[in-house]
């Protein structure tokens, strides 16, 4: 189970504003998901190494440290809610 308080904490971290009804609903739904995932605890994993990635791949990297193409400033700022010159403009942070 997950408490209303935990839902509020996660909502704050995710910058979500929830109504009382939504908090109840998410507590129920998230609780159900966690409960389902609990099933994994029934398995004996003592001899199973931890997995960091689901694909059987390693060491995928770019060999050449060479500069590629960048976006044009107008493309960069196309989605900016607000701008000043070539800067993104944001409300006061703290």
């Amino acid at each position: 189970m997950i408490s209303i308080k935990e839902v509020e904490h996660v909502a704050l971290l995710a910058r979500l504003e929830l109504s009382e009804e939504e908090k109840e609903m998410y507590a129920r739904q998230l609780g159900a998901i966690l409960e389902y995932a609990q099933m994994l605890n029934e398995l004996d994993t003592a001899d199973v190494p931890p997995t960091a990635h689901v694909l059987p791949l390693q060491n995928v990297w770019r060999e050449k440290d060479e500069v590629g193409r960048q976006l044009e400033p107008e493309e960069v700022l196309a989605n900016a809610p607000d701008r000043e010159g070539q800067f993104f403009k944001v409300p006061r942070i703290v």
Partner: protein
């Protein structure tokens, strides 16, 4: 205050000097127009995939080896989640439980004692963007964001809580900077932000084994700020405890102008980064042979170079330490010594007049107009007796300002030393004639006035008289007068 000791640990971020960013091919160059060095990957646009720049891994391994760390056989990246406008994806790709390197150390020297400071871990991560405020962050009407720096490769170096004083913290930082600069993987320029430092500090009663509650200090923009902020914070914590209060675990900002640390209380203070493995990047299995190749490619590091200076050049340990503190100064010194065998003479000039002028003009030695060959030419002019040591200092200042050859300056300004006995003797006569009272004092037994008379001779020749000759001739003349 004396009953307490501080426990200090430093977290240092160093930008790696690769051409491109850690997960995309944007340039890492400092400066540039705002938001000009960005692409969909570092802007965190939907649907993009980061790919690790292998050079970042190589440089990080190199730095870790130089700091005596063990390199992990298996490592991975994780997401550190938080909301802040300098972070376009709302998470930073970092490393959490399987960092690249662990268990290193470096040695510092404070008050003549060598102390080993542990390094707990070194991990790779991406830098965030840059925020611009009008005035301070709390009073600005709005803020501006430049994402050029987003995705520039960083290593974070976490020290053990082994440091006990602000001086030790400064010594650790200076040594760390020197070692990393020597490896060539970073410029480590604090003023450009390519080396940044946060400090964790707590205090406890001397003899206690337990740690007190710590605070984290941010906004430390110079070595001096680190030292001052720690000294302030230690005093503050001791005062709180002495008044029966308790320390609150929190982040505090150093205010350089006021010289105080201030609490940064905010809702986000409840740090909950919800780290999880970065699914867009696959794990790293680090080839041992590659690590050994990188180890073999390490240049001579500061401690080794210092030892060599003592052995090879016969320099005092102090000189060796000062000269090797930065790679640039050591390189400069060695270029001079390659041209001129008297290492101690070179050391005196580099540590003395040259360093003084560099500091006074806030210049790096790489920007110095005096080339090693020119400094050596100046030393040779002194050796040949063309100029005196006093005139050499004047010539040196002129060289520093203009970059001209010493011979040229000496010729232009007529600074060639006067070694003609007759010429100096004539000046001595003039000085004696012009100062009858002083001469009488000398003859009456006041030996101290001799220095004044030498000074007058030097003044009359604008410093060009050979000092030994001037001394000898003056002494002879006066003794002659005594005999009468």
């Amino acid at each position: 205050m004396h009953d307490y000791e501080a426990v200090i640990g430093l977290e240092v971020h160093v930008e790696l000097k690769t051409n491109t960013k850690i997960f995309c091919r944007c340039p890492t160059a400092f400066g540039g127009d705002p938001n000009a060095h960005v692409c969909p990957v570092c802007l965190g646009l939907p649907g993009v995939l980061p790919v690790l720049n292998k050079k970042v891994l190589e440089y990080a391994i190199k730095a870790a080896l130089a700091l005596n760390c063990e390199i992990a056989a298996y490592s991975k990246f994780d997401r550190k989640n938080y909301y802040y406008p300098d972070l376009p994806k709302n998470y930073q790709i970092s490393q959490y439980d399987l960092p690249l390197a662990r268990n290193g150390y470096l040695d510092i020297e404070v008050d003549g004692e060598v102390k080993r400071v542990g390094i707990i871990r070194i991990h790779m991560e991406e830098d965030a963007g840059k925020l611009l405020h009008q005035g301070t962050i709390t009073t600005t009407p709005y803020s501006l964001v430049d994402y050029n720096r987003t995705g520039v490769p960083l290593i974070e170096i976490v020290s053990a809580p082994d440091l006990r004083t602000p001086e030790e913290a400064k010594a650790y930082l200076e040594k760390l900077k020197a070692i990393i600069q020597y490896t060539g993987v970073s410029d480590c320029k604090m003023e450009e932000g390519s080396l940044r430092c946060d400090a964790n500090v707590s205090v406890r009663k001397k003899g206690s084994r337990e740690f007190g509650t710590k605070t984290e200090i941010k906004n430390l923009n110079s070595f001096k700020a680190v030292q001052r902020a720690l000294a302030y914070e230690i005093r503050r914590q001791v005062a709180v405890l002495e008044e029966g209060g308790r320390i609150v675990q929190e982040t505090r900002m150093w205010d350089e102008a006021e010289g105080v640390t201030r609490s940064m209380r905010s809702k986000e203070e409840a740090h909950d980064y919800r780290y999880f493995p970065e699914p867009d990047l696959v794990p790293l299995v680090i080839d041992r042979q590659w690590v050994e190749e990188i180890r073999a490619s390490l240049p001579e590091l500061p401690d080794q170079r210092r030892q060599r200076y003592i052995k090879q050049y016969g320099l005092p340990p102090y000189d060796a330490a000062v000269l090797t503190a930065t790679k640039e100064m050591a390189d400069y010194f060695e270029e001079c010594v390659a041209l001129y065998p008297n290492a101690k003479a070179v050391s005196n000039w580099v540590m003395g007049d040259l360093s003084r002028l560099l500091n006074a003009h806030n210049l790096e030695i790489t920007r110095c107009k005096i080339r090693p060959q020119q400094l050596v030419d100046l030393l040779r002019l002194m050796d040949k007796g063309t100029i005196s040591g006093k005139i050499a200092k004047t010539v040196f200042e002129e060289m520093f300002a203009t970059g001209k050859d010493p011979e040229e300056i000496v010729r232009e300004q007529g600074l060639v030393q006067i070694t003609d006995e007759g010429a100096i003797a004539a000046v001595v006569e003039e000085v004696l004639a012009a100062n009858p009272k002083v001469v009488a004092d000398y003859l009456g037994g006041k030996e101290k006035v001799f220095a004044f008379l030498v000074g007058q001779v030097m003044k009359a020749t604008r410093g060009k008289a050979n000092p030994e000759l001037a001394n000898r001739l003056l002494r002879e003349k006066l003794e002659n007068l005594k005999g009468r």
